[in-house]
């Protein structure tokens, strides 16, 4: 068992300290750097919290292929237009693309998802 507080809480506290107390002390030309650090910490916290989406994605790919599927194979098939002759396969492939992209942005940039009208973007605690 790890010691407490957990890393997610420590990251949140560190981020608050950076933005609320240290940022006002920095010269204006370094403010952007502080925001970049805060953004990196927020990404790390969201990724550490995980959401199990990678396992879900592998499951979707296995279902899509009816056997072991990988993102490499999927990408190669899309390059070759492998699903273009089957509307249902093409639609299923697009569904995976949407879900992959939304899952990545929930961790990487939920603000961008929200700004584009995607709700439940994972902004809790920000």
């Amino acid at each position: 068992m790890r010691d407490l507080p957990v890393s997610r809480d420590l990251l949140a506290l560190a981020r608050e300290l950076l933005l609320d107390e240290l940022l006002p002390l920095l010269p204006p030309e370094r403010a952007r750097d502080a925001h970049l650090i805060a953004t990196s910490m927020a990404i790390a916290a969201r990724e550490a919290a995980g959401g199990g989406w990678r396992e879900e994605l592998i499951g979707q790919l296995c279902e899509f292929y009816g056997e072991d599927g990988s993102l490499d194979r999927f990408a190669a098939d899309l390059r070759n237009g492998a699903f273009e002759t089957s509307p249902s396969r093409e639609r299923a492939a697009r569904a995976i693309l949407w879900q992959l992209t939304i899952a990545k942005l929930r961790e990487g940039n939920p603000h961008f998802l929200a700004a584009n009208g995607f709700t439940q973007a994972g902004l809790k605690g920000e």
């Binding site: 650090i37 953004t39 990408a75 390059r79 697009r94 939304i102 990487g108």
Partner: protein
């Protein structure tokens, strides 16, 4: 504090300043040039821009002059033009009536400052994207600015091959861009299925080609200067080349360059209509929405690849710069935009899932 010593070379700062003063005097036919101030200007990840205040004794620039010296930074990217070539492009744009800083002198001789550079007049204003898109004081002027940018772009496109002073520029059409994107992804460690799907779409939806024109290839908010609401300069010509007339239109309208105003599709400053109107009235060519959409898709692909290349500086090149490392994450923003452009039906299906 801004740096005040000219670009690194084996000579010391005072020697470099003397060397530059001699170069400026000779190039302008002045009896002497005294440099009063040198300061590195902010921005410029690929190039360095130095503000130079200098007094010319005689010659064609006699008097006090405010100049900018532009040279390579240590993080230059291989796909950009050299400074002497960029100077030639700037000269052609200036001659065509595009609003650019007047180009004055270029120097290919590394003995002067250690690397090639060129000198242009310094114009007033700021190019920072967010103030341009968000400052309430600019609100009533933004449609006119968008129209002006359309006119500027059309004027730029009056420069066409063959051009005796620009024979070093290469033509890059959609097919070459697509091949470049795929070559990059072939060497990238993570699969990018969205980009693969979209590149395939682009390959199968190539528009009929138009005669090539001069493309700026970074014509966007953040690369033009405003002094108040007045356009004073279009900057950063290092990616210029021959290409499709709609390539720069797609780039300016690409969502990545809207700086907090995603709803304003012309560079975050206005609707598309005034931008298109300015372009169409100056060029005499009516824009085809399908062609523009194709090039907007290409713009998002290109921005995604550039973003990934930025993080490669950390992943492969050993750079410890956080700003470039984190930029790779923006590729997924481009992928969302590409899905929204090419599968609009999916927005309703997934936006609230």
């Amino acid at each position: 504090m801004a740096a005040t010593a000219l670009p690194r070379s084996e000579a010391g700062p005072a020697d470099r300043q003397r060397s530059l003063a001699r170069f400026l005097a000779e190039a302008s036919e002045a009896d002497a040039v005294e440099i009063a101030r040198v300061a590195l200007l902010p921005g410029g990840a690929i190039q360095e821009n130095w503000a130079i205040d200098a007094e010319f004794d005689g010659g064609r620039l006699s008097g006090v002059q405010r100049l900018v010296l532009r040279t390579d930074s240590s993080t230059g990217v291989p796909s950009s033009l050299g400074r002497v070539e960029e100077f030639a492009v700037l000269q052609a744009a200036f001659a065509a009536g595009v609003t650019v800083p007047e180009p004055l002198f270029a120097c290919a001789d590394a003995a002067v400052l250690g690397k090639p550079f060129f000198v242009m007049r310094r114009v007033a204003g700021s190019a920072l994207g967010r103030p341009i898109t968000l400052d309430p004081a600019l609100e009533p002027m933004r449609p006119a600015l968008a129209e002006r940018l359309g006119r500027e772009l059309a004027r730029m496109q009056s420069i066409r091959p063959p051009h005796v002073d620009l024979d070093f520029l290469i033509t890059t059409g959609a097919g070459e861009h697509i091949a470049g994107f795929r070559a990059y992804l072939d060497g990238h460690p993570n699969p990018r299925p969205v980009l693969e799907w979209v590149i395939r779409w682009a390959e199968t939806h190539l528009p009929d080609p138009l005669p090539p024109v001069l493309c700026h290839r970074d014509f966007r908010t953040g690369n033009y200067m405003l002094d108040g609401a007045k356009l004073t300069a279009i900057l950063d010509w290092e990616f210029a080349g021959w290409g499709d007339p709609d390539e720069d239109i797609g780039w300016l309208c690409c969502k990545g360059w809207r700086f907090g105003r995603l709803d304003r599709e012309a560079g975050g400053i206005a609707e598309r209509a005034p931008f298109y109107r300015g372009y169409e009235s100056e060029s005499g060519r009516r824009l085809d929405p399908e062609r523009v959409k194709f090039w907007e898709v290409m713009a998002n692909l290109r921005w995604a690849v550039i973003a990934l290349q930025q993080s490669d500086r950390f992943l492969v090149g050993g750079s410890r710069n956080l700003s470039t490392a984190i930029t790779g994450r923006r590729a997924t923003e481009c992928e969302l935009e590409l899905l929204m452009l090419l599968d609009p039906g999916g927005i309703a299906e997934y936006a609230h899932a």
